[in-house]
Symmetry: C2
Subunit: 163 residues, 2 copies
């Protein structure tokens, strides 16, 4: 695997949608409508405030992420990201590579910290990964997420400072 | 004081802006741009997903709040609100009345809980009030808010269930 991470371009939309669609439909990890159309999903992913990157493995887009300020005004020094990896590509370190890239890039842009607002607790793989990458759990919201199989489960707020 | 809380209407915009403007300009409590114009502030306050109420004291708008789902999809059962009180009207129980109204209204709309994502810790009056109204601190985000006088201060995530 030779992973390249670069800014997303309009021709990447098909690949990004093919990654997003199964994740939205499953409804297990993102608090987003399960029935969103391609247009609705891409409008969200490419929101004006989002800077979007893709991870490419030998020309194939295998993951993508967005970076944005988590708040405005007095909260604009803390970054926020959302990452997705193609279901057929999971377990290959792509999320790790994207997160490391986002931490470097956020620091370069002058952000002082990174915050995830809503990590579904049952998404154990993600929680473990973010911990390994230096994030602490700074909040636990009881029953904040309605999991399609497990019912109401907690969501975590995770945070780390940037160098 | 005879407080009425009702849905906001377009003619309330002047009054709402006159309440919002000093709060935005002060930049001490809301993570919103301090330099927002009237149009930008009202567009935010009246976002499509916001249901907006005003508190009226004998015909004068003395406070307002919005209610929205805090997340979409699997997180849409938790409500979120933002409240503002006119600076000349503070200390008269208007925020309490608006919050109580919002808790009732959110429960009626079927929300299961209410969450505040970003309560600036130095806004002690607000923290005390939300605690009194049944909210718990479920998260503490270090140095999440750049206060104009105090520098980087923590922000709290506060949460309560609805009946």
């Amino acid at each position: 695997m030779l992973l390249t991470i670069r800014l997303a371009r309009p021709p990447d939309e098909d690949a990004i949608w093919s990654i997003l669609e199964p994740i939205l439909r499953a409804g297990e990890t993102y608090a987003l409508p399960r029935d969103w159309s391609r247009d609705e999903a891409l409008r969200y992913w490419f929101a004006d405030c989002h800077e979007v990157f893709v991870a490419e493995d030998e020309g194939e887009v295998v993951g993508c992420y967005y970076l944005q300020p988590n708040q405005r005004g007095g909260g604009a020094h803390v970054a926020n990201c959302g990452y997705v990896t193609g279901t057929t590509s999971s377990g290959r370190g792509i999320a790790t590579a994207m997160c490391e890239h986002s931490l470097r890039h956020a620091a370069e842009r002058g952000f002082r910290a990174m915050q995830f607002n809503f990590v579904v607790r049952t998404n154990e793989r993600a929680v473990r990964l973010w911990k390994r990458l230096g994030f602490d759990i700074v909040g636990e919201i009881p029953k904040a997420f309605n999991h399609p199989d497990l019912g109401l489960v907690d969501a975590l707020v995770m945070y780390r400072r940037l160098p």
